[in-house]
């Protein structure tokens, strides 16, 4: 176990805020000489290179890096200091135009930071619902209790049929708090109970509450079905909490999780494990194939991880929502690097859990 850091990389002035340094580390040019194949080579070996998108179905928007938590593994480097990186109203309006104009987009996935802290959050959710699209909110749970003005979020979500996806890395307090901060577990359980009270996770309501499990250290997630059964049993037994599905996510070596791996001497072994567990069957279902990711300032990325590494979509001149061109995006090649091994290890990993 390491001593948890309570500030973002940016607030600590860490050199890892420079995405070029992160990319150099992933390439093996810095910190650790990796004797590993590249992701492109592995795709080539199984005849799946270059990687191209399928139909665009999910419009994922990272509406801000502001967060009331500072989780040790956060690939966004979110935290209370990130006040500047918040999507403004004109950018959100432009997103709405795109969502309305592309019929294949059926879901708008809102993430952050804590997306609810963006002052335009509720207005935006209402507008997306008006377009008849499904909204997913990636809610960190504790935000609901962080201030009186957020106490009614469960009712707001329920009123708009928002699918709530929330991180709870473990049903044990110690495992959860070691990753997400002291006291987070208790507040998360309370928030889950509030969501249950308005019908989330309860049979017959159609209000979906899905939990995200991601390992609280340098190891890969186990079998999703088995973990889901255990989470359901333990959360119901201990706290009367119910939910629909458990999504198992692998931690990708980006930002604060990369820092954790490097500082604990786990980096090389973790990368080796990811590469060893490469599963060609997961490749066709990686999330970048049916998702586009938008940053708070309107740039386009293949996924949220590429966004955090500042790897914009490979569509020259059309990398911003103001120049959004669905036809050009369809033709693009997805930008890859070694962090992608996190999406294809074992049963694979995506924003919707395991994929193979």
């Amino acid at each position: 176990m390491t001593v948890r850091k309570n500030k973002s990389l940016a607030a600590r002035g860490s050199e890892l805020t420079d995405t070029m340094i992160q990319l150099r580390i992933l390439s093996g040019a810095e910190r650790a000489a990796l004797d590993l194949p590249t992701f492109e080579q592995k795709l080539e070996e199984c005849g799946q290179y270059p990687l191209r998108p399928a139909e665009l179905e999910i419009f994922q928007i990272n509406i801000g890096k502001l967060c009331n938590q500072v989780c040790a593994h956060c690939h966004v480097d979110a935290g209370p200091d990130k006040k500047r990186e918040n999507m403004d109203r004109p950018t959100l309006e432009r997103c709405l135009e795109i969502i309305a104009a592309v019929p294949s987009i059926h879901t708008v996935d809102i993430t952050g930071g804590a997306p609810e802290l963006n002052p335009h959050f509720r207005w935006f959710v209402e507008e997306v619902c008006r377009l008849g699209k499904q909204v997913i909110d990636r809610c960190n749970l504790t935000v609901i209790l962080s201030n009186k003005k957020y106490h009614d979020l469960p009712e707001f979500f329920a009123r708009h049929g928002v699918t709530v996806v929330s991180s709870l890395p473990h049903y044990s307090r110690r495992r959860t708090d070691s990753q997400r901060g002291e006291g987070v577990f208790e507040r998360s359980i309370r928030a889950l109970q509030m969501l249950n009270e308005v019908g989330y996770g309860q049979p017959g309501t159609g209000l979906e509450l899905n939990l995200v499990y991601n390992p609280t250290g340098a190891f890969l997630p186990g079998d999703q079905q088995s973990l889901e059964a255990e989470f359901k049993r333990q959360l119901e037994r201990r706290y009367g909490v119910r939910f629909n599905h458990l999504y198992c996510l692998t931690n990708l070596p980006v930002s604060r999780f990369l820092e954790y791996l490097l500082e604990t001497g786990n980096y090389e072994a973790y990368m080796e494990e990811l590469v060893q567990a490469f599963n060609p069957a997961a490749v066709p279902n990686v999330m970048c194939r049916n998702t586009i990711s938008v940053s708070w300032d309107g740039y386009l990325y293949d996924c949220d991880f590429n966004q955090m590494l500042d790897l914009k979509v490979a569509v020259p001149g059309k990398q911003h929502i103001n120049d959004f061109d669905i036809e050009a995006l369809k033709q693009r090649q997805i930008v890859l690097n070694r962090h992608c091994f996190g999406c294809t290890a074992g049963a694979g990993s995506s924003c919707g859990g395991q994929i193979a």
Binding site: H170, G222, S226, E230
Partner: protein
Amino acid sequence: MSNDHYLKRDHLKKFGEITDFQEELGSKFFEYYNSVMDEGALTRREKALIALAVAHAQQCPYCIDAYTQACLKEGADEEQMMEAVHVAAAMKAGITLVFSVQMMEDVKKKTM
């Protein structure tokens, strides 16, 4: 050969190579081993906890290493893992102590 060949960390990684010297039996062993550890009437997590307990009882560093990782991966927490080790410890204590009945009987037989 010197002592430094004993218990090397990377021997665990090379465990699969036992098939190099005897392909058929090695492969059969791994097939059996993997079937045993797979989800069945017991979950993989329960099996990993049992294996962790046995690893401690047998004091095998390779197995402690492998099953600490496996327990975490399958979603066990430190409390469950420590309880599993206590089960092993309690069994060892019980197994030691139950033999004392023989000692007691011998004592009674041989003493006035």
